[in-house]
Amino acid sequence: MKHRLMAAAGLAAVLLGATLATTACGNGSGAAGSTGKIDTKGDKNATGTLTVWLQVDAQSSWPNAVKAATTSFHKKYPKVTVKVSYQAWNDHLTKLDAALTGKHVPDVVEMGDTETTSYLANGAFRDLTDSKNLFADSANWNSGLAASCTYEGKVYCVPYYSGSRIVFYRKDMFAKAGIGAPPKTLAELMTDGGKLNKKYGSDPKFSAFYMPGKFWYSAMSFVQDAGGTIATKKGGKWVGGLDSPAAIKGLTQWKALSDQLSAASKTSDEANPQQYTVMAQGHVAMMYGLGWEGASVSADGNGGNPKLKDSIGSFAMPSGSGKEAMQSFAGGSDLAITAKSQHPDWAAAWTAAMTSQSNEKLLMKAGNVPNTTTLLAQAKSDPALAAAASSATDSWMVPISTGWPKVEKSSILQNGLSDIATGKKSVADACKQMNQQVEQALNGS
C-alpha cells in the first residue's frame, strides 16, 4: 500500500510541476512612490541604465528618431546608458504586465492609445500632471491622443504619434489595367479591382486589394462608414452596436472586398505577415496601410523592395455611403513613465527628447501624424503627408472604457471577423456574437 501511495504521489508531483510552469504568477513588490516633482535639468555625473520599451515600428521605420532622442538625452545625462528594446504588438501588454509586477521595470514604455485606459486607472504610470510643461508644445497636444493619456483629469502619459490609414496602390498596375484615376467611391474601387483581377488573374498569388481576415481596423472602418459603431455609452452602461443593420451592412461590404479582391489569408492579420512586406513581393495592387507603410514597401531592407520605388501611390480609402472618404481608425501611441521607475527624471528627459518638435518632424517624414495640432497643420501642407494628415482629423476611435483592452487582448473582433471572412459564420451571426462579447467586456462581467 505504501508503495502505491508513493508512486501516486510521485506522479502527482510531476504533473503539478508541469502545470505550474504555465500558470505560475509573480508576486507584487511594494508600491513605489510615484508622486513628487520631476526634474530634468540634467546631471553630468549620474550613472546607471535607463530602460525604454518601444514598439517594433520605431526600429523598422524611424530608427533615426530614436537615435536623435538618445543623443539629445546624453547632452543632459552623458553617463547614463540608454537601453531601448523593441516589442511586438502581439504580446507586449502581457510582457508589460509581467514586468510591472516585479522590481526591475522599464522606465519608459510605449502604449497604443486604445490600450492605456486600464493602466491609467490601475496606477501603472506616473502622474505627469504637474510636469506637462517639460514636454514640447504640450498645450497643443492632439486631442485624441491627449484624451488617451488623461484619466479623471490627470495626465499619465505623453502623446507620441498617431497614424491614419490610406490606400497604397501600384501606379504601374493601375495603368496597365486601364484605370486612369484612383477610385472615388467604394463601388468604383470594386470595379477597378475587377479590372485588375482580369489583367493579373493568371497569377494565383495576386490580390487586387490585400485584406487579411483579422484586419479589424479596416473592417471597423467599414462599420463606421456605413453608420454603425462598436459600442456607445447609455446611462452608465455600454450598449453594443455591432449587431445593428448598419454594422452588418458595412461588414458585408468588407467581406465582398475580401472575397472578390483578396488572396490574403483569412486567419491572419495585418501584422503577421507585415502587409507591406507582402506588397513588396509584387503580387498586390492595393493595400490599406498606415502612413509609414507606403514608404516601407519600397524601402531598402526590412522586407522592402527598392524596385517599386516609383510605382507606389496613395489615395484616401473611398466611402461606400457617399462621404468624401472612409473614416480611418485614429490609432496612435503614447509614451508613459512607469510608476515604479527608479529614474523618473531620466525617463522624463528621454521622453521629452523623443517627443521634441524636431523629433516629431522626423516621425512625420517616416509617414506618421505628429502629436500636436501645430505640427499637424504643417503636415497638411506637405503633399506627401496631406492625405494621412486630413484623414487623421476625420477619424473614429474605439470606445474609451477600462474594459476595452480586454476586447483587444482576447481578440474578440479579430476572431469574429475571421469567422466572417472564412465563411464559418454568416455576417449576422458573427456580428451578434461579437456584439455580445464586446458588451460583456466593456461592462466588466
Partner: protein, 322 residues
C-alpha cells in the same frame, strides 16, 4: 535486509542498556529511510508545494491589475472563481476539446513510437545508431523552434507543404490555409506535438523491448504464433509497466500542451484552438483575470490527478507496479 536488522537486536541483550551505538543501530533502517527521502521532500515542498499553495490562494482571491502594479494585497472572494468557471458552457467545450486532443496525441505517439522501437530492434547496428542520433536531435529541439519550423512548412503563402502537395496533378494548394479549418489546424498541431513526443517514448520502449528475453519470443514462434500474436501475447505483457508510465507521462504532457498551440497561432489562439493550458493562460494574462486563470489551473491539476490516481490504481490491481 532482514538478517541485518536482526543482528543488532540479538547483540542488544549482551550490551549494557542505553548505550548509544545500540540505540542508533536499532533505529537505523527507519531513520535512514526518512533521512534519505528528506532532501526530495524538501525540494518538492519548495519547488512545487510553495507555488501550489500560492496558486490555490490566488484562485480564491480577486487579483486585478491594480493589486499587481501596486503590490497591494488582493481581496479574498471564496469560491466565486470556481462557480464562474463551472457555470460557463465554454469551459466544458474546452475540457472536451482537450480530452479529445490528448487522446489522439497519446494514441498516435504510442503507436508510432512502438513501431520505431520495433524497427530499432530489427535494424542493423549502424542503422540503429543513426536512428538514435536522429531521435535525440529531435528531442533536443526546443518546442518553440520546432513549432516555428512546422509553421513555415505549412505557411499559407510560402509553405513547402502547399507547394509539394500542389505538384500532384489536379490539386490546387495555392493559398491553402491549414488553420482555417479547425480539424486540419489541429492536425498540424498534433503533428508538431507527436513529432516532439516520439523520441522519449521510442527510446524508452526500445530500452524495454531489448530486455524482453529472445527465448520467449522464439518459443512462441516455434509454437506457430505470427508476429502480431508475438507482440500482443508475449512482448506487450512484459512491457506493460513501461507502457503504463509512458502513457501516464504522455497524457500529462499532452493534456497541457501550450507552446505548440500558442506559437502556431501567432500568440493569439482563436477560441476553437484553445485547450485547457491555453485557455487558462488567456484568461489569466490575456484578459488580466489572474484569479480566474489560477482557478482553471487548479481544476486542470485536479482532473489530471483523478486520471493519474485512477490509472495507477488500475495498474496496481494488475500487479504491474510494486
Amino acid at each position: 535486509m532482514t538478517a541485518y536488522t536482526q543482528a543488532p537486536a540479538e547483540a542488544a541483550g549482551a550490551a549494557p542498556p542505553g548505550s548509544p551505538p545500540r540505540r542508533r543501530r536499532r533505529l537505523a533502517p527507519r531513520t535512514i529511510g526518512y533521512l534519505l527521502i528528506l532532501p526530495t521532500v524538501l525540494v518538492l515542498a519548495g519547488v512545487q508545494g510553495y507555488p501550489l499553495v500560492k496558486l490555490a490562494l490566488l484562485s480564491v482571491q480577486d487579483l486585478t491589475q491594480r493589486e499587481l502594479f501596486s503590490g497591494l494585497p488582493a481581496p479574498f472572494i471564496g469560491l466565486g472563481n470556481y462557480a464562474k468557471i463551472l457555470s460557463d458552457p465554454d469551459f466544458y467545450l474546452v475540457v472536451l476539446r482537450t480530452v479529445a486532443f490528448t487522446a489522439a496525441n497519446v494514441a498516435l505517439t504510442l503507436v508510432l513510437a512502438t513501431g520505431l522501437a520495433l524497427v530499432m530492434r530489427a535494424a542493423s547496428r549502424w542503422c540503429r545508431l543513426l536512428l538514435t542520433v536522429v531521435l535525440i536531435c529531435v528531442w533536443a529541439m526546443p518546442q518553440v523552434v520546432s513549432t516555428l519550423v512546422f509553421n513555415w512548412l505549412f505557411d499559407y503563402e510560402f509553405g513547402v507543404v502547399n507547394w509539394l502537395v500542389g505538384r500532384l496533378p489536379g490539386v490546387d494548394m495555392n493559398g491553402h490555409d491549414w488553420y482555417a479549418n479547425t480539424i486540419s489546424g489541429f492536425g498540424v498541431i498534433t503533428m508538431i506535438v507527436v513529432w516532439g513526443a516520439i523520441p522519449f517514448v521510442a527510446i524508452t520502449l526500445y530500452a524495454g523491448i531489448s530486455q524482453v528475453p529472445k527465448e520467449l519470443e522464439e518459443a512462441a514462434r516455434v509454437d506457430g504464433a505470427n508476429s502480431r500474436q508475438i507482440f500482443f501475447r508475449v512482448t506487450y505483457p512484459i512491457l506493460r509497466p513501461i507502457y503504463t508510465i509512458v502513457t501516464v507521462l504522455s497524457v500529462i504532457w499532452d493534456f497541457q500542451v501550450f507552446n505548440q498551440v500558442w506559437v502556431a497561432r501567432g500568440g493569439r489562439p482563436e477560441p476553437q484552438y484553445q485547450t485547457l493550458g491555453v485557455y487558462s493562460f488567456v484568461r489569466a494574462f490575456g484578459v488580466n483575470e489572474y484569479s480566474l486563470g489560477a482557478a482553471i489551473a487548479v481544476i486542470t491539476v485536479l482532473l489530471l490527478l483523478i486520471f493519474t490516481v485512477f490509472y495507477i490504481r488500475q495498474s496496481l490491481r494488475q500487479g504491474e507496479i510494486d
